[in-house]
């Protein structure tokens, strides 16, 4: 069993760096966690190990929540989660894991989204260069 006092639990996230508009991409995540279900006993002393699991996972894209996932005891240690996402614009993907002690950890990735012509699609409106001639 891993050292419980360690704070910097490892979080892994794999997302494609670039995508085409409207493409469905696969995102894989893995969190290093002991996921103690709260029913196991120490074989020598008989003391029950306290429950410690990740119970909420939030997925956000450009600050907007894509989905929320609630987990209960029984999920295996070092949980692996994969999902598909349809992207329309360039954005910041953020996964947040919260355990039942309230400790929150996150991992981020940026996905560049291009249209068919090869132009980067921004998540906000951008003035095209050359139009604003008044600014000197």
């Amino acid at each position: 069993m891993a050292d419980e006092n360690r704070k910097n639990w490892r979080r892994r996230l794999r997302a494609p760096e670039t995508a085409i508009k409207g493409e469905i991409i696969t995102i894989k995540t893995m969190a290093e966690h002991i996921m103690e279900p709260g029913v196991r006993r120490d074989p020598d002393t008989g003391v029950i190990y306290p429950k410690k699991i990740i119970d909420h996972v939030y997925v956000r894209y450009n600050g907007k929540q894509v989905f929320k996932s609630q987990w209960y005891s029984g999920v295996s240690a070092n949980p692996f989660m994969a999902f598909k996402l349809k992207v329309e614009s360039t954005g910041l993907l953020e996964i947040e894991w919260v355990d039942d002690y309230g400790q929150s950890t996150f991992k981020r990735a940026v996905i560049d989204v291009y249209n068919d012509k090869g132009e980067l699609i921004y998540p906000f409106a951008v003035d095209k260069p050359g139009k604003n001639k008044e600014v000197i």
Binding site: M1, R10, R12, K28, M30, E32, M35, F80
Partner: protein, 264 residues
Amino acid sequence: MKKIKNYFIKFYIIFSFLCGLAYSEEKPYSLNELKSGSHFSRQETRDIENDEFSNPGMIWVEKGEELFNLIDGSKNISCNNCHDQSGVSLVGVAINYPKVDREKRKLINLEQKINFCRTEKMNAESFQFESDSLLSLTSYITYLSKDMAINVKIDGDAKKYFLKGKELYYQRVGQMNLACNQCHDEIAGSYLRSEKISQGHVNGFPSYLMRWDSIASVHRRFQFCNNQARAEPLEIGHPDYNALQLYVTWRGNSLLIESPSVRR
């Protein structure tokens, strides 16, 4: 002068011929029959193992790489200072272990070698067996020689350990009165409840075992095997387990290292 030189050449040829007659023994499996443990595991388990992202053992490898570069001890050096920076690469080191150490003059495995290196070269504290740090470092160093063929030597100094290991392999132990060869040689490939019995090679170790949610060393797996036969297990790092590890590793000579493997 020329005569003396000729004499030396002759002597050298005879000597090398004698060395060529090194200790050799026949393996229980021919080269075609030799199969790694992943051959006997299920397709789903193999898929997890082959994808480096979904393989949980890679967490330990990453931690080991961090520890490899971590400065520790009173000399203020890390493993990296001696090994990578001065050109003594650790790639392909893991295929030779367990082996007889020149300074210690006894058989040691990779975990013990790391601890000797730490206490004597770095003046740092040695890690406990089966601690997270030691398993991480071992996994990282074994991972460096992934896809290389195992090649342990059993001649010379290692011969007596090899014979001891062979004796232990064929010795019946425990209430079940079982020896290793009864399962792993005679009925390998058949089902034991829901699992297929493997040929008992250790090319995947340190291996991620799902039943323990952690990387495990060969010795811990030996302890588990002994428990299954209802025998009293030895402690981790025991010389007898080292000898047994030498024999079992030799059985799988020429298999490719696939650590960190995933097993149930």
